[in-house]
Symmetry: C2
Subunit: 245 residues, 2 copies
């Protein structure tokens, strides 16, 4: 038996990892420290590895962790990017960024989908597999490199490159139209009432109230009537608990 | 006019802050850097301060931030404390720690309730005011001192001192009893079926399935039948979307 028979399997393993190393370097701009964390992050539960003690190991724990870290970083980033916006706005913006559909897309844009190990027998399609793997990778980066590093990666490689906060914010027009769409479905009547104008000149603000079937459901204030309507509609959506609809 | 007439108001302001400084030092063991963040953290929305531009300022933005940071730290802590538990367990444990009722209690135990500034006219009682202030303080610490510092405070001064993870875990008996209580309310029949035993000796595990009206609703595996029942019940609660009930 030549020494290569022993060395070869090791080399194969090494070269497999080398691919993952370089993929991650290309995607995120850094070389992983503990590569096993990242391998685990790409192991979908359909290919869970069974341990001696019967426990099944997949990326689900890392996904749980990454989800929480991602939420914290996005919360912090939005807090600083929008210093005068209320928590209703920030919560809504965050839920748009960390929504399953947004994360599935980002995961594919980054090319993480190509790294996922899943059981594709019988053409199983796992709807949120890509977004789950993205969150699991965030969990892996956090364990491997710490919070500040993960924060920088999320902001620089994900949010700044794949989310347009202005566009996401202007989707605010969504609030009003979403409320109107909801009302049409539910056969309710929505009205926006200009209650008052506060201040004057550059600091002049408008206060708008949303009425649903003549009942008040939230006031909004902004430097434009349009903005005040959006804020009021957002509050109504939250109050009626239909902001995710 | 003596110089004291000028100095006095400054001294009064300073002494007011001095109290807050020393309260926070007593509670958390550190002196705040930027005291204004902490003053804001204790300003309930019923006493929101109106700025020149009409914006109202209260602790709601800090609460939004602190909520996210707290969730991340607790997720991380549980991840490390329970290295072989699945994400369902971790998620359930976290939701117990960060539940509004748990945070209201912790806030009072820490004595944060005494520092809150709220409008108590007409005997207004704000149900979650204490928990909200706790989260806002976490947001303030994070902005003032950074993630690692906040993480240490949450673990050492909050979780380790005010949560008994063993007890919280053993409340797992909750899973089974909660499922049974739910079934009684809904007039459904719950059964726990021992499906199989895996391995032997020290590594022997039991697999239990939950049946509700004879329909399978989740399998659990553990080193004891009791544990396997808990895990199965937990999965059923999650599947039926009644895990928060």
């Amino acid at each position: 038996m030549s020494p290569f028979d022993v060395i070869k399997p090791i080399r194969v393993i090494l070269s497999e990892d080398k691919e993952l190393y370089s993929s991650l370097k290309n995607i995120f701009g850094f070389y992983p420290g503990n590569i096993f964390l990242y391998k685990l992050a790409f192991r979908h539960k359909s290919l869970a590895k069974e341990l001696n003690n019967g426990a099944k190991v997949s990326n689900e724990r890392l996904e749980y962790l990454g989800d929480a870290i991602l939420s914290a970083v996005v919360a912090d980033h939005l807090f600083k990017m929008f210093p005068i916006k209320g928590e209703g706005f920030l919560t809504e913006m965050r839920s748009r960024i960390v929504s399953r559909s947004a994360l599935n897309k980002v995961s594919q844009k980054l090319g993480l989908d190509k790294l996922i190990q899943a059981n594709s027998e019988g053409n199983n399609v796992y709807k949120s597999m890509n977004g789950d793997a993205f969150e699991a990778v965030i969990g892996a980066i956090y364990l491997d490199k710490g919070y500040q590093f993960t924060r920088r990666i999320i902001i620089e490689k994900v949010i700044q490159q794949h989310f347009d906060l202005d566009e996401l914010e202007n989707n605010d027009t969504n609030f009003k139209s979403r409320l109107i769409e909801w009302a049409q479905r539910e056969k309710r009547i929505v009205e926006f009432l200009l209650l008052s104008e506060v201040g004057h000149g550059y600091t002049k603000q408008y206060v708008v109230e949303v009425l649903i079937d003549k009942q008040a459901h939230g006031k909004g204030r902004d430097y434009s009537i349009k903005g005040a309507e959006q804020n009021a509609a957002m509050k109504a959506l939250i109050e009626l608990d239909i902001s995710k609809a």
